[in-house]
């Protein structure tokens, strides 16, 4: 499967709606098999979601994402793991070992999950496929 991580200065891009670059990583049997970087010039939500779908992305790991764009991306069948921060390589290896829900990868104020100990309640929605 292919996962996408929007990147900026070697970290997860803070706002996916405005991210310009995305790292595509192919994973087989829990191991990275290849990676490539591509640019995201699409400003419109529907186009951005369609571009990811066209690139064969199955899972998007990103920072903040607007509700509208998250809905669009989910609509095209892509799993979204939002509110993730940190250096891209560390985020990727945490994902591969099933540890992306660790609090140190949660954006400040993350309400999505139990990753952030201050973000009480709620259950982690994402996870590995």
């Amino acid at each position: 499967m292919r996962i996408a991580i929007p990147t900026w200065s070697e970290r997860v891009s803070p706002v996916f709606d405005e991210a310009r670059t995305v790292l595509l990583v192919d994973i087989e049997d829990g191991r990275e098999t290849s990676r490539l970087e591509t640019s995201l010039s699409e400003a419109e939500s529907a186009e951005r979601a369609a571009k990811l779908a066209g690139l064969g992305v199955a899972c998007l790991i990103c920072g903040a994402i607007s509700q509208e764009l998250e809905a669009r991306v989910s609509q095209v069948g892509i799993e979204v793991i939002p509110q993730v921060c940190g250096p891209v390589n560390e985020v990727l290896s945490a994902y591969l070992r099933g540890a992306i829900q660790e609090p140190n990868f949660a954006m400040p104020g993350c309400r999505h999950c139990c990753r952030n100990q201050r973000g009480r309640g709620g259950r982690w929605r994402g996870g590995r496929r």
């Binding site: 803070p14 706002v15 419109e44 509700q67 509208e68 669009r72």
Partner: protein, 442 residues
């Protein structure tokens, strides 16, 4: 100042305030900042500002970075942030540099104001000047809005006249929607687009066997609109033969489908529109006088856009909001010089042309304000200037153009126009009179 005193002061401010050190880590975060971003102070302190603030400009155009690089503060820049729930919050930000007692730069400070309420008020204001999807606050449009409900409530035939692109169908739809027939069908047909025989079968339908390929009955638009409204667009373009058939429908409320011998009753209200002057066509003998009087029971004349320039800013706002919705974009509006160009343009294609211009700009504008370079080339200043200045113009003629343009650009405000031209308002009045300039109303 002790940190706890500093926090008390910061928390008493209604605007969000945060400070960063030279590594872009947040060093203070006031209560308003917590409320606007949805991120608690304890979570924010020590974190990278872009991961707490999540502004649209963090990656591409960070205002704090600019301020730290140039030393110049930035004021009231309109951006949006994503709060902790993923909602887009419109804000305006201001930045400044932070120095210690020795003048050494130790970081930056950013203040930001939640514009959600302002945006809502703006929307409310727009709603006040919007009537059944029609936008305008000019006297001409307000007069139309005032009489529209009465016109809708009546059963009378309405003739809507106005140049192309002024929204004749929108008015027809509004009349239908507001009328007691509002829940029944609204069927529109462009009479100018079809040849006579096709128009007849489209309007009245046909019976099986009426002609070679008529294998089964086909209902016409009058039948499809039964109980509702038929909108006949470009009625000035129909042939004399069709005029007499339509006259019968209007007079007797009956029509005959092609190939039928039995007349059918038509319970429809007829609205007609044209971009031609029907009275003129009547005087030329190209339009039946009796049909004209049947149609012209109530006549609405829609003004050209150049005759209601004061509506342009409102229409631009409306169109920007519409395309933001359609395209999922976040364009904040148009820059001041763009609005000046739009106010100046003659708009031969009226609102349709304005809509096309904004749509064109949306393709090129990624976000923020629409700038001059996002406009179609025909609207950019060089082309506009070229069209106005002819070689061999007298000084008087140039003055006439400059004064008329300046007054128009300022929405009829003579004082502002005089200020722009660098002359006294009384000089402007004198020149207007002397040169016989025809100025728009204020």
């Amino acid at each position: 100042m002790k940190p706890d005193v500093r926090d008390i002061i910061l928390d008493s401010i209604a605007d969000g305030v945060f400070t960063v050190d030279d590594q872009w880590r947040i060093t203070s975060f006031n209560r308003a900042a917590e409320q606007i971003t949805g991120v608690g102070r304890d979570e924010a302190i020590g974190q990278r500002c872009c991961e707490v603030f999540r502004a649209s400009i963090c990656e591409s155009d960070c205002a704090l970075k600019q301020t730290l690089a140039t030393g110049r503060p930035i004021g009231n820049k309109a951006v949006y942030i994503l709060n902790a729930n993923g909602q887009r919050i419109p804000i305006s930000i201001s930045t400044a540099i932070l120095k210690d007692a020795k003048g050494k730069v130790i970081g930056g400070v950013e203040t930001f104001r939640d514009l959600t309420v302002v945006e809502e008020l703006r929307k409310e204001l727009a709603a006040k000047y919007t009537f059944a999807d029609i936008v305008g606050r000019s006297p001409a449009m307000r007069r139309l809005f005032d009489i529209l409900p009465e016109i809708a409530a009546s059963e009378s035939t309405v003739l809507i006249e106005g140049p192309s692109g002024t929204g004749k169908e929108l008015f027809a739809r509004a009349i239908h929607d507001l009328s007691p027939r509002g829940k029944k069908p609204f069927v529109a047909i462009n009479c100018g687009a079809l040849p006579d025989t096709l128009l007849e079968s489209e309007l009245f339908g046909y019976k099986a066997g009426a002609f070679t390929d008529a294998r089964q009955d086909k209902p016409g638009r009058f039948q499809l609109a039964e109980g509702g409204t038929v909108f006949l667009d470009e009625i000035g373009d129909i042939s004399p033969a069709m005029q007499s058939r339509l006259l019968r429908v209007l007079q007797e409320r009956v029509y005959e489908p092609l190939g039928s011998v039995a007349p059918q009753q038509a319970d429809v209200r007829i609205l007609a529109a044209t971009n031609k002057n029907l009275a003129h066509l009547v005087s030329e003998g190209r339009f039946r006088e009796d049909l004209y009087y049947r149609i012209n029971v109530i006549r609405l004349e829609l003004p050209a856009l150049r005759d209601r320039r004061e509506d342009i800013p409102l229409l631009v706002d409306h169109l920007v909001a519409k395309f933001n919705r359609l395209r999922g974009k976040d364009v904040a509006g148009v820059a001041e010089d763009v609005l000046a160009l739009l106010m100046e343009h003659d708009w031969p294609g009226n609102i349709r042309e304005l809509e096309n211009v904004i749509e064109h700009a949306f393709v090129l504008c990624r976000g923020g304000l629409i700038q001059v370079n996002h406009l179609p080339p025909s609207l950019r200043p060089k082309a506009a200037a070229g069209a106005r200045w002819r070689p061999g113009m007298t000084l008087e003629a140039m003055e006439r153009v400059l004064i008329a343009d300046a007054v128009r650009r300022h929405g009829g405000n003579r004082k502002a126009a005089a200020a722009e031209l660098g002359i006294n308002p009384s000089t402007l009045f004198r020149k207007v009179k002397a040169l016989g300039i025809d100025l728009p109303e204020k």
